[in-house]
């Protein structure tokens, strides 16, 4: 796994700080377009708040639609970053080095985007504080901790705070590099952020220990977040098809599947945008492809189990939901598309080494997974709600309105914009990590072959 050439520190600084010290020509036009999309979405949200949720397709019995689907989707994407970074760091996987920062930053921005969704979904965003903030704003009424409405924010805010700190701590040595390569206001800002970092042995030792310690602490949080999201469904007493016991691990593995695919696609985009061919190499995308085969197969196992457990129970409500998913138009079409795009197309592509190393094919596979995973969340939520169940007195289908399409579409623009803006001010590939990889790199002579190798300190 050492295919690239050894680069000098000067080259690494020049290449990886290029996104910060020089502005590519495409940057501002792309930012403007994304900004305009967000402006349209802000207007749509404004109209929705002003007129009420009636402008959306949400109604009884489908009270959760595109917004909650999108919320679960972005929470899922957010799982990749820290999971990828933490597990690979703990496993000391050498190929993690260029991928960790982008993955962690994708976690932050997708979590922030996910958090917007339930706020928009309430239709009365200002009331959120009354429901979740631990303070008795009126009449001594505190948030009800027996509801997932409180569990979700507590888990997501813990995850967001932890991930943000994880990113910041790992950025401190890179702030010092930026401090030494900038002048004027930028120099002063990076000096403050670097906190006087000088790179002595003690600081490096703490940085390495911190990486391992924080990884170990964040992993249980990451598992808890999507488990709690699955309990949002499990706690809804009236919808029988949401009570599967495998929901929590099924959600977690699904999140990893969509998230790691998103990270692979983001790395391909970064390589293309900033010309980082020497850093994000085919071997890295190949390794992610191989990891994804395992994750996808694990996820597929849980999908089959979830369906089997539901069907074997022979409960009428559960069977009705399955009937909707498998036989009713258009849900049967979405269901087939979901299974094919999430598992069969990408895994078939990832099985070939040549295709894993073809960035176009990898991009298609990763986008395919995320199209499928978005559909998966939609197919859990909407067919579960449209069926007549206990306390359902209105029976209607769900047709999302243009407002929902605009708002959902804008979330993709938001994450892209935030990633681009981040890359303008902070390095998206960790400089010190890449440099450390080059310091530890060597070659071993075995018989008549010279094999690339890496020293590893235990």
């Amino acid at each position: 796994m050492q295919e690239g050439r050894v680069l000098s520190t000067r080259e690494i600084n020049r290449d990886l700080l290029r996104s910060i010290l020089d502005t590519p020509r495409w940057f501002w036009p792309v930012v403007t377009v994304l900004g305009l999309i967000l402006l349209v979405a802000a207007i749509a949200i404004g109209i929705m708040v002003n007129r009420g949720l009636g402008v959306t397709g949400l109604n009884r019995p489908v009270a959760w639609g595109f917004f909650i689907t999108n919320f679960v989707f972005w929470i899922g994407i957010s799982h990749a970053g820290v999971m990828l970074s933490a597990i690979l760091r703990l496993a000391k996987a050498e190929w993690r080095r260029p991928a960790t920062r982008a993955a962690e930053v994708l976690t932050l921005f997708s979590l922030m985007t996910a958090m917007i969704m339930p706020i928009v979904h309430t239709g009365r965003p200002w009331r959120i504080l009354y429901w979740v903030f631990p303070y008795d704003f009126a009449r001594g009424i505190w948030p009800n901790i027996r509801t997932p409405l409180v569990w979700d924010p507590s888990a997501i805010l813990t995850y967001l705070t932890s991930s943000t700190l994880f990113v910041i701590i790992a950025l401190v040595p890179d702030f010092a590099v930026l401090r030494d390569h900038t002048t004027g206001i930028a120099h002063r800002v990076y000096s403050v952020l670097a906190m006087g970092w000088e790179g002595n042995a003690r600081q490096w030792k703490l940085q390495i220990v911190a990486g391992v310690l924080l990884s170990a602490l964040i992993l249980p949080v990451f598992v808890s977040v999507h488990s709690i999201v699955s309990w949002d469904f499990g706690m809804a007493a009236a919808v029988k098809s949401w009570h599967s016991t495998v929901f929590a691990p099924y959600f977690v593995v699904g999140a990893v599947h969509s998230g790691v695919s998103a990270v692979a696609f983001a790395l391909i985009l970064l390589r293309w945008c900033y010309g980082w061919q020497d850093y994000i190499r085919h071997e890295h995308i190949d390794a992610l492809g191989r990891l994804l085969i395992v994750v996808a197969t694990g996820w597929f196992y849980f999908l089959v189990m979830e369906i089997l457990f539901g069907m074997y129970g022979r409960e009428a409500d559960e069977l009705m939901v399955r009937q909707t998913q498998f036989t009713y138009w258009p849900y049967n079409f979405w269901f087939i598309l979901f299974v094919i795009t999430t598992y069969f197309i990408p895994v078939a592509l990832w099985l070939s080494r040549a295709w894993r190393r073809n960035l176009w094919i990898m991009s298609i596979a990763c986008i395919s997974v995320n199209v499928g995973m978005w559909l998966e969340r939609f197919l859990i939520i909407v067919p579960g709600l449209i069926n007549k169940q206990l306390f359902t007195f209105v029976w209607a289908d769900y047709r999302p309105s243009i407002f929902e399409y605009i708002i959902i579409g804008s979330t993709f623009a938001l994450v892209t914009l935030l990633m681009l803006l981040f890359s303008r001010v902070f390095p998206l590939v960790p400089l010190y990590d890449v440099k450390e990889g080059d310091v530890l790199r060597t070659q071993v002579q075995i018989g008549r072959r010279t094999v690339p190798a890496t020293f590893r300190e235990d």
């Binding site: 006087g196 000088e198 703490l206």
Partner: protein, 168 residues
């Protein structure tokens, strides 16, 4: 006699390690020497002393405080407005466990981060002797010692092939 810093700038890890050996031979205590790099080298690469730290204590303290906050928050908010729902007890353990768990982890992580900053001796408000070439791959050997020993230090740096020697 005042203690003043002196910095030797080296272009390779081997010459910086040689400078470290030279300083030891000149009787400069290890505690007065720091190796400044732009990437983590394996511990002891320059023959430097081992750096003890107490970072592992921080997450435990944080977890304890987080758990306590979680228990207080969940129990007191339920007791403050004791409404029986579904015949369940006022202090319902499963939902409390969720919030307490998140509180515990948040406390552990917050304190770990504080511990990293504290144990790394950051923030360093007064900039010390430094050379920006360090982030270009050069290695700085920073010696903070009596001015009378600066001659020995410079000699050690010179013998090891220092690219530059800087004083405050």
């Amino acid at each position: 006699m005042a203690r003043r810093p002196i910095l030797g700038v080296f272009d390779s890890a081997n010459s910086a390690a040689d400078a470290g050996d030279g300083l030891r031979r000149a009787g400069i205590p290890e505690t007065d020497v720091d190796f400044l790099t732009d990437t983590p080298y394996p511990e002891g690469a320059f023959g430097e002393r081992e750096e003890p730290h107490r970072l592992y204590i921080f997450p435990f303290i944080g977890a304890l405080l987080g758990l306590t906050s979680g228990i207080l928050l969940t129990s007191m908010t339920q007791v403050a407005y004791p409404m029986v729902t579904g015949g369940k007890p006022i202090l319902s353990i499963p939902p409390m466990a969720v919030v307490c768990y998140e509180g515990t982890m948040l406390g552990a992580i917050l304190f770990t981060v504080l511990g990293i900053i504290f144990e790394s001796r950051l923030p360093k408000l007064k900039a010390g002797l430094y050379d920006t070439r360090i982030t270009e791959g050069y290695i700085g050997v920073l010696v903070n010692t009596e001015e009378t020993q600066h001659g020995d230090v410079e000699a050690a740096f010179g013998q090891a092939g220092a690219v530059d020697i800087k004083r405050e």
